[in-house]
């Protein structure tokens, strides 16, 4: 299956239809069509397949707010780092890409070097297993992610509860995609001709959850998979809509995405989390776009059990991550890109996470000649 979805011959055949269509759309618009891939995994897949170079001139692909690390507010990042720094007795469990994200003054990596206990886990299940095996340690798992991660984190709390673990809690900074897209599309300055919707998130939420993109904002949208052929198909379906002046939310990833999504995952999310207002980098406060643990679960809520105070956080000076996340500019338009901000010394979070727009662009597409 995977091989078929990567079959270069099939890919080239699709491309031979896609490229003229992109040119046609560009001709009509009088500029390249601008499509936004909402998901960070799409950003990586596009960079790795070289798709951008194949459609250059007639199509622009911009990254959206779909990299969880990138959209986490500076204040949340500072709070996480302050927790690690002030409580060396805690084991902070995290996905690897949070490690090097810079807070205002430090990062988890720096705090680890100073003595904080930071453990990298590939899944919340692994973190809860670690907690069970280390009863002498208090484990705090950083719940960073979207609808794709939240059910697994909820499940880890369920496991901790059923096993009677007293040493496992979650610091939830989970976020929801539909509310932020609503916020994004309400921006009058936005110039996006179509949205590639995040396939993984849609497996949980279902296609219907994104009907508002087309219905309310009249922007064409296609749920996209992650193989080059999935992406090309989704782009093709988007361009077809643009050409015919239609706007619909189409499922371009039907082998995994259903109309209503995954009910089990949605139920456990609802049972364990409640929607709250949260701060997004680049977007500010977005109502009901975050997930906090239900009050009845406060024993597993690290925000309740280990509160930390941080002074007000300001994003680093000159950092344009906010504009990149809104699709207003490309990574290379940021004045810091590849100059002051590089993967080794990242200023903004888009350069840190492997799914970040700037990191993916730097790693796979940028050439020194551009600076």
């Amino acid at each position: 299956m995977l091989d078929k979805l990567r079959d270069p011959e099939l890919g080239k055949r699709i491309l031979s239809k896609l490229a003229p269509l992109a040119q046609e759309v560009a001709g009509r618009l009088g500029r390249p069509a601008i499509l936004m891939e909402v998901c960070g995994t799409h950003t990586m897949a596009i960079a790795r397949s070289g798709l951008r170079s194949l459609l250059a001139g007639s199509l622009e692909l911009r990254s959206g707010p779909g990299c969880p690390v990138c959209v986490t507010g500076q204040g949340d990042i500072d709070r996480i780092i302050a927790l690690a720094a002030s409580r060396p007795d805690l084991v902070i469990g995290t996905f690897g890409d949070m490690l090097r994200v810079s807070g205002t003054n430090s990062s988890l990596e720096q705090e680890r070097a100073r003595g904080a206990q930071v453990e990298i886990f590939y899944s919340p299940a692994e973190a809860v297993t670690f907690a069970a095996g280390h009863p002498q340690n208090e484990v705090v798992f950083l719940g960073v992610g979207f609808e794709t991660t939240a059910p697994a984190v909820a499940l880890s709390v369920a496991v901790a509860r059923s096993r009677g673990l007293k040493n496992y809690s979650v610091l939830s900074v989970h976020k929801l995609v539909p509310p932020v897209l609503e916020n994004l599309l309400s921006d009058p300055e936005l110039k996006i001709d179509g949205l590639l919707l995040p396939g993984h998130v849609c497996t949980v939420t279902g296609r219907k959850a994104f009907d508002f993109v087309a219905n309310k904002f009249n922007v064409p949208a296609v749920v996209a998979g992650f193989e080059p052929i999935d992406l090309m198909e989704a782009i093709y379906l988007l361009l077809k809509q643009i050409v015919s002046g239609r706007a619909e939310t189409v499922n371009g990833y039907p082998r995994l995405v259903r109309e209503d999504g995954n009910n089990k995952a949605k139920e456990i999310m609802k049972e364990y989390f409640k929607p709250v207002n949260v701060y997004w980098r680049g977007f500010g406060m977005v109502p009901q776009s975050g997930l906090a643990l239900q009050e009845s679960l406060s024993f597993y809520d690290a925000a309740v059990r280990f509160p930390v105070e941080v002074s007000e956080s300001v994003p680093p000076k000159g950092c344009a991550c906010g504009d990149v996340l809104k699709g207003k500019i490309a990574s290379s338009d940021c004045p810091l890109f590849a100059r002051r901000c590089t993967p080794l010394q990242p200023v903004g979070p888009c350069m840190v996470s492997t799914e970040g727009a700037c990191a993916a662009y730097y790693q796979y597409e940028w050439s020194k000649a551009e600076v």
Binding site: R6, S53, Q363
Partner: protein
């Protein structure tokens, strides 16, 4: 009871230079590494040399875990230094080995590691002729660290260097990419993945000596350790000022490695190898070198993966779809302590 138990593990006194140190040397290092130069137990090993140029290389090994599918820290410590010498065009001759051992490390594990080093030395045709052992307190080191230094003679006629690369040269790799880094990751993290991924850790000097003898068009070699193919190719490109153009479709990666890296969001081109090298060769010898590697040296997955073009020190990958992307250096290890 306690005495019985203490016999099984390394104590701080094994590193104090006294009787227990002597015992450790006799029971492990001298027994397994046995050779005339080492057996003399003088402060320095003294050996005669022949005229010609020599190469020297040193490396510290801190891999975690110390045992992994396809090898262990001892095998890695020998291969790492031997391979650094080999890709520099040298025939490795002698090694030194220094051990930093954490108090409480089991002797059974130490013996396995030392035996594995001895076996790898025999395979590579090198001898360990000097060494040192220190023991540090529990928690002051993690199990065992090994530093090896190796010397060797440059092979006559080997002429390797960045300055020799020129447009048209072909780029080959000696086999499948990414196994070592992934094997370590899977062994270390309880990912619940049932996999067959085995480290490629192996000495390369015998293979390299054979090809250097036969192919004068070999211009540069590099063992693809930390940072993998991508980072090493980029380093060579930047140092020599030419561009690499590689073909994604032909890069050799085992299916299991492909599948698991996909799942974990890793790129096999950035994962470490410990038994693979890249070679840049003049175009007229490229086909024969590939045939020789595959058929005569059993490197069945050796591949011609691209060529050198005039440029500015970039590495380009032609994707399977016909697009291009760049490969830049790895920033921030996906995983520390892989070697």
């Amino acid at each position: 009871m306690a005495e019985e138990k203490d016999k099984d593990i390394v104590l701080l006194s094994h590193g104090d230079g006294g009787l227990l140190t002597h015992q450790l040397l006799q029971d492990f290092f001298l027994r397994y590494f046995k050779n005339d130069l080492l057996d003399s137990l003088t402060d320095a090993a003294v050996f005669s040399s022949e005229p010609g140029r020599m190469a020297i290389s040193t490396d510290a090994f801190v891999v975690d875990p110390v045992f992994f599918p396809g090898g262990d820290i001892g095998k890695l410590a020998v291969c790492g230094t031997v391979n650094d010498l080999a890709v520099s065009g040298a025939q490795p001759l002698y090694l030194t080995a220094s051990f930093v051992i954490e108090e409480g490390f089991p002797f059974t594990d130490l013996e396995k590691i030392v035996a594995s080093m001895a076996r790898t030395c025999r395979d590579a045709g090198v001898q360990i002729i000097a060494g040192d052992t220190k023991v540090v307190g529990r928690g002051q080191a993690d199990k065992v660290y090994i530093t090896t230094t190796g010397v060797g003679y440059l092979l006559p006629g080997a002429n390797l260097g960045y300055q020799r690369l020129e447009p048209g040269d072909k780029v080959l790799v000696s086999g499948c990419l990414g196994n070592h880094g992934l094997a370590i990751l899977l062994q270390r993290e309880a990912l619940g993945l049932d996999s067959q991924v085995v480290s490629d850790c192996a000495p390369l000097n015998n293979m390299i000596t054979e090809i250097l003898k036969r192919f004068k068009g070999i211009k540069l070699m590099r063992d693809l350790t930390r940072g993998g193919l991508a980072t090493n190719a980029k380093e060579i490109a930047m140092s020599s000022g030419v561009d690499f153009w590689l073909d994604e479709a032909v890069l050799p990666v085992e299916d299991s490695v492909k599948g698991i890296t996909e799942l974990l969001g890793l790129d096999p081109l950035y994962l470490a190898n410990e038994g693979k090298f890249l070679v840049v060769v003049a175009v007229e010898e490229a086909d024969e070198l590939l045939r020789y590697l595959r058929e005569d040296l059993s490197a069945e997955y050796a591949c011609q993966i691209g060529d050198i073009q005039a440029g500015k020190g970039n590495v380009y990958l032609r994707t399977a779809l016909g697009g291009t992307r760049q490969l830049n250096m790895m920033a921030g290890a996906p995983l520390p302590r892989i070697c």
